[in-house]
């Protein structure tokens, strides 16, 4: 079932037309990867899904993005609620300068999700378990999250998102700061998480997109050139531009 639908989406940074008439439909509980050369608009597209681009003054958007049958650009959209439902994981892990425990508890308190101390502790534990960090950190909940390895910190950031019960996880190059082993662990985690969440990942790493995604979109110069099952895109794409990019003849 389609969870996110972009229709005739155009985005401008001032006079620069960054997203050109993008139409796509993202299915729930699948991993969708957006690939393409630098500057093609893939991160811009990702950031429209939870209106992160609103933070840029010169941005102007036409068209619509429908999530759960609601246009997120509607005047009645509650941005905080949208960003809780559609969380973002960034390139570099960005834990708060707080303890491991407080990193997860923070969102729960802000959004008033956990009402009692027991509930809070239970949710923190579940969050860490869901990213396979509980066994490593259960005795270090009071230590600063800034002391974690990059992989642990990225997992913690994912746990922090999951704790506030989102439906969609946006991941912007989530492994670009990690070594190959940590990257493999995060990829395995993504494959586990898709059982419960819809994941949209932007990556420069085509191999990563091939390994983890169910559906893949190829973007070039602001346009979504092709969107299809990953298997199709990486074995027999319909568009020459896609084939040129994934075979290294372009980009």
């Amino acid at each position: 079932m389609s969870l996110i639908r972009a229709e005739k989406l155009n985005l401008y940074y001032g006079n620069f037309h960054a997203l050109i008439n993008v139409n796509l439909s993202i299915e729930e509980k699948r991993i969708t990867a957006i690939i393409g050369p630098s500057g093609c608009g893939k991160s811009t597209l990702l950031r429209t899904f939870n209106r992160m681009n609103d933070l840029i003054e010169t941005v102007h958007i036409d068209g619509s993005i429908i999530i759960n049958n609601e246009n997120i650009f509607s005047k009645t959209t509650d941005i905080d609620s949208l960003r809780r439902k559609v969380g973002m994981v960034f390139q570099r892990p960005n834990p708060f300068p707080l303890s491991v425990y407080e990193n997860i508890a923070f969102g729960l308190k802000i959004h008033k999700i956990a009402k009692t101390r027991n509930e809070l502790e239970h949710t923190v534990e579940q969050g860490l378990k869901s990213v396979l960090l509980w066994d490593q950190l259960k005795d270090k909940l009071k230590t600063s999250a800034l002391n974690l390895t990059l992989e642990q910190a990225q997992r913690l950031c994912i746990a922090r998102l999951i704790a506030v019960k989102p439906e969609i996880l946006l991941m912007d190059e989530p492994c670009s700061a990690l070594d190959p082993i940590a990257t493999m662990h995060i990829e395995e985690l993504m494959l586990e998480l898709k059982k419960n969440y819809t994941i949209v990942i932007v990556t420069h790493n085509m191999q990563q997109a091939a390994r983890v995604s169910d559906d893949t979109g190829f973007m070039l110069l602001g346009k979504l050139i092709e969107f299809n099952k990953a298997e199709k895109i990486f074995t027999n794409p319909d568009k020459k531009e896609t084939e040129d990019y994934i075979t290294g003849r372009y980009g």
Binding site: L191, A210, R211, E231, F234, T235
Partner: protein, 224 residues
Amino acid sequence: MERHFDVELNKLRENLSDMAALVEGMIDNAIKALVERKEETLGNVFNDEVEVNKKHIEVDEICLKLLALHQPTAVDLRLITSAMKINSELERIGDQAVNISQNTTSLVKQPFFIQLPIIPQMTEITKSMVKDSIKAFITKDSDIAKNILLRDEKVDDLKREVFKKIINYIIENPAQTEYFIDLLLISRNIEKIADHTTNIAEDVIFMILGQDIRHHHLFDEHKT
């Protein structure tokens, strides 16, 4: 830590194992029809060939997908490239079983002249080679694979014995030439199956040990 990729590789192994079971059944049914001089079981061979051909395409698609999406390296790469070759060998074994069935169809229409017990004997060895080749692939056991290479020599010897006998029969009974040519072709088909199985064993050894032992006699000649 088990990788999701391993789950996909296990599916590939299961598919090849199913395909091997199908071709084994085809050989069984073809030879049963020959020994019992009954065509009934041959229908199964022709039906199973359709299934084997479907599996052939399916396994190739799985391999292509795994190569494209996972960019395997080292042992994973050797596993998938070996699986593609094993897939083709199994399909050809299925074709040989069909050839045996066609020759058997022709044979049972002719009056019975003689049985050659060597042919079922060749078949038993060959069937065990097919079974063991897939066992070696699934269990990653290079000793089982090496043992198959030895059995191929035995099958070759038996085929030569069949040829000698048949040539003598033809000389003594020229009116039965067609009958003997069918038997000759059947023994040739069985020997071909053993050859395909030997190829599988060589692929399995490459997959496990990373050693290419194909055409080793060529390299031995260069050394001397």
